[in-house]
């Protein structure tokens, strides 16, 4: 066991896979010599050399496009889009290319690649560097979307993403890069499409990803201590594929459900989950499903304003308490 930061876990996961498979290569802006603007790829160039770790021009279409062209023909690239927000300038690959090539060619062409991006807010970077882009990615058939919340999950899910034969969007939370956690020694390979119950509870279910996971866990502790409410917390980890079995089973036990989403209100991932629960577990529910989200506005820059937009521990506690009291 080692204590690693989330950013160190990214580098460890990449290194684990590059050491295992010569076809795994890393590319992106400042990922090699500088070790990444978040230092999440520190040491990769030193260990694997410039043939396998490549700094690219500021050409997001070329980054994703060349990653895909390489994936179609035999490599397993890990491409970085520095901030998730920037994927908008190369969205064609997300929306039209990655997930469609295998399908349209009836299986002739494959696309085994991973696109890592720094997702989410909490670091006072403003409206164009702080968005949560889960739903920008998960709406397209053919793309897998993963969003780990702990260093151990970063390593295991990154390994699973690299080994997956299909394209995977890997959302690293920029507000979590400095957080620490235990990571087992040796090779770690997790399974995509599996949610984890991080805190069992009996009164309600909180479903979260990324930075909303530690906040939901903290909220659950507070709910227990202050109000005697025993909340179950589920880290979704993978938005696509979606582990609905774990979610539905939890709702069957707790009878109340809350999604905790960092994204703006409209069309967040929680809306899909609530819709599934309404369809398939309606009669398990003792009250309306509640979505705790950012309001439908861009994110303001200074920390005191940003904190009003992104769901806080206090907001989660308050929303759950009020809803269960009603």
């Amino acid at each position: 066991m080692a204590q690693l930061t989330y950013r160190e876990a990214v580098a460890r996961g990449i290194a684990q896979e590059m050491a295992r498979d010569e076809d795994v290569v890393l590319l992106g802006e400042d990922v090699a010599k500088a070790g990444g603007v978040f230092k999440a790829t520190d040491g990769i160039l030193e260990r694997f050399g410039p043939r396998r770790a490549l700094d690219t021009p500021i050409s997001e279409q070329a980054i994703l496009g060349s990653a895909m062209g390489a994936a179609m023909t035999g490599l397993k690239p890990i491409a970085e889009i520095m901030f998730g927000d920037f994927v908008a300038v190369c969205y064609d690959f997300i929306a039209n290319e990655f997930g469609k090539t295998r399908y349209m060619t009836d299986g002739q062409v494959k696309c085994p690649l991973v696109v890592r991006m720094a997702n989410g807010g909490g670091v006072a970077f403003g409206a164009q560097h702080s968005q949560s882009v889960e739903n920008w990615c998960m709406q397209f058939p053919g793309l897998k979307v993963v969003a780990p919340s702990s260093p151990a999950d970063v390593v295991g899910l990154l390994a699973a993403a690299v080994r997956d034969p299909d394209p995977v969007i890997f959302l690293e939370h920029k507000g979590l890069y400095g957080t620490r956690g235990e990571v087992p020694d040796g090779e770690i390979v997790d399974t995509l499409g599996t949610a984890k119950i991080l805190r069992p509870g009996t009164d309600c279910t909180l479903i979260a990803v990324g930075m909303m996971v530690p906040r939901s866990l903290a909220a659950a502790e507070q709910l227990k201590a202050d109000f005697g409410i025993d909340a179950e917390v589920i880290d979704l980890r993978s938005l696509m594929p979606l582990d609905t079995r774990t979610l539905l089973a939890s709702v069957g036990r707790t009878h109340r459900v809350f999604t905790v989403e960092e994204n703006p209100r409209v069309l967040g991932w929680g809306a899909e989950i609530v819709s599934i629960i309404a369809d398939e577990a309606f009669f398990d529910l003792d009250g309306p499903p509640v979505r705790i989200t950012a309001p439908h506005v861009p994110i303001s820059t200074p920390p005191h304003l940003e904190a009003l937009v992104i769901p806080s521990v206090e907001r989660i506690v308050e929303a759950v308490r009020q809803s269960l009291a009603a």
Partner: protein, 339 residues
């Protein structure tokens, strides 16, 4: 290349009689194929949209003749001819366009997305520009793995003004990738003249210098010229000399897509280009070189037969299967997204 045994190669040059007859056969095949596609559309046996390359056949024939087995190609929605020229059988190409079970992709994706990995065609792409960066990736893989294939990326004049074009050229030149960008300048981007949409006369070639590449503009209606230019570029790329960009001047005699009457053409322009029709020019070349009329007629007949046979086969083939829609999204063949 030497002529066939028993038929001395009269031109005795780098191209030779056998290859010339093959390039002619291919141009005729593409022309007849495209005319047949138009006919089948009018019969309602082809639905949706198609983008024919009537008048541009020399680019396809010359380019594929310059490529080796194992070289890769990325094309656009205007790709029927390139896919045929790479060797995909006419019935599979037509079947795909007709949405039949015998198609290249079992009739799932149609005219704009023709793909035949078996023949090195990695795909036909319908969002302008994106496949230029895909081609960079394929070429990067070749270099990374020490494989000696070259990637050829075919695109239109209009695509030279999209961002991905510039990102692709910069990356390819910077990384010295074994890729050849081949612009089919057919004077139009959809219904607009490229001359009115581009700050420079030659939208691809005039930008080559920005990326440290040679400015190459060629006659795209002469298969020999195309063959030589693409061969030289491929040779350089294969031997580690980096990418090239070639702008082939040609003309689309058909409309942009199946429903376009092309009213935007200035009077007389089409006639002028029909004078320079690639098939007509090439047939005259063959004769000039002393190739007998019956040998020319023979390859014409081969192409005609191939298109007729393909048409009959496709008319008999079943429509593509309904289970295609729920298959091959993921590597396991399924489309499941939840448990």
């Amino acid at each position: 290349m030497k002529g066939e045994e028993g038929s001395p190669d009269r031109a005795n040059d780098d191209i030779g009689e056998v290859r010339r007859l093959e390039m002619y056969r291919m141009q005729v095949l593409i022309r007849l194929f495209e005319e047949r596609v138009q006919g089948l559309y009018l019969e309602n046996l082809i639905t949706g949209t198609t983008h024919l390359m009537i008048g541009q056949e020399a680019v396809s024939a010359g380019t594929s003749a310059a490529m080796r087995d194992g070289d890769l190609m990325f094309c656009t929605y205007r790709g029927h001819g390139h896919v045929l020229a790479r060797g995909a059988p006419a019935d599979k190409v037509l079947g795909e366009i007709m949405g039949r079970d015998n198609g290249l992709m079992r009739g799932k994706a149609g005219s704009m997305h023709l793909t035949s990995v078996e023949h090195g065609v990695m795909g036909s792409f319908a969002v302008i520009g994106s496949h230029l960066v895909l081609a960079c990736g394929a070429a990067w893989r070749a270099r990374y793995k020490g494989q000696d294939d070259v990637t050829v990326c075919v695109y239109g004049d209009g695509a030279s003004n999209i961002g991905a074009f510039h990102e692709a050229l910069n990356l390819a030149a910077l990384w010295k990738l074994p890729v050849v960008f081949l612009c089919e300048n057919n004077l139009y981007q959809e219904y607009s003249r490229i001359a009115e949409m581009s700050a420079v006369e030659h939208p691809s070639a005039d930008r080559a210098g920005s990326y440290g590449l040679e400015r190459i503009v060629i006659d795209g209606n002469d298969a020999d010229v195309v063959f030589r230019a693409v061969s030289a570029a491929i040779e350089t790329a294969r031997s580690g000399g980096g990418p090239a960009i070639i702008e082939a001047m040609t003309y689309r005699q058909s409309g942009h897509s199946r429903a376009d009457p092309a009213k935007y053409r200035p009077a007389g322009e089409l006639d002028l280009w029909k004078e320079r029709d690639p098939l007509k020019l090439y047939k005259a070349r063959l004769r000039e070189l002393g190739i007998e009329d019956d040998r020319i007629a023979e390859v014409e007949a081969q192409s005609r037969d191939a298109v007729n046979e393909a048409t009959e086969a496709c008319k008999l083939a079943p429509l593509s299967s309904p289970d295609l829609i729920m298959s091959n999204l993921w590597a396991d063949g399924s489309c499941a997204w939840r448990n």
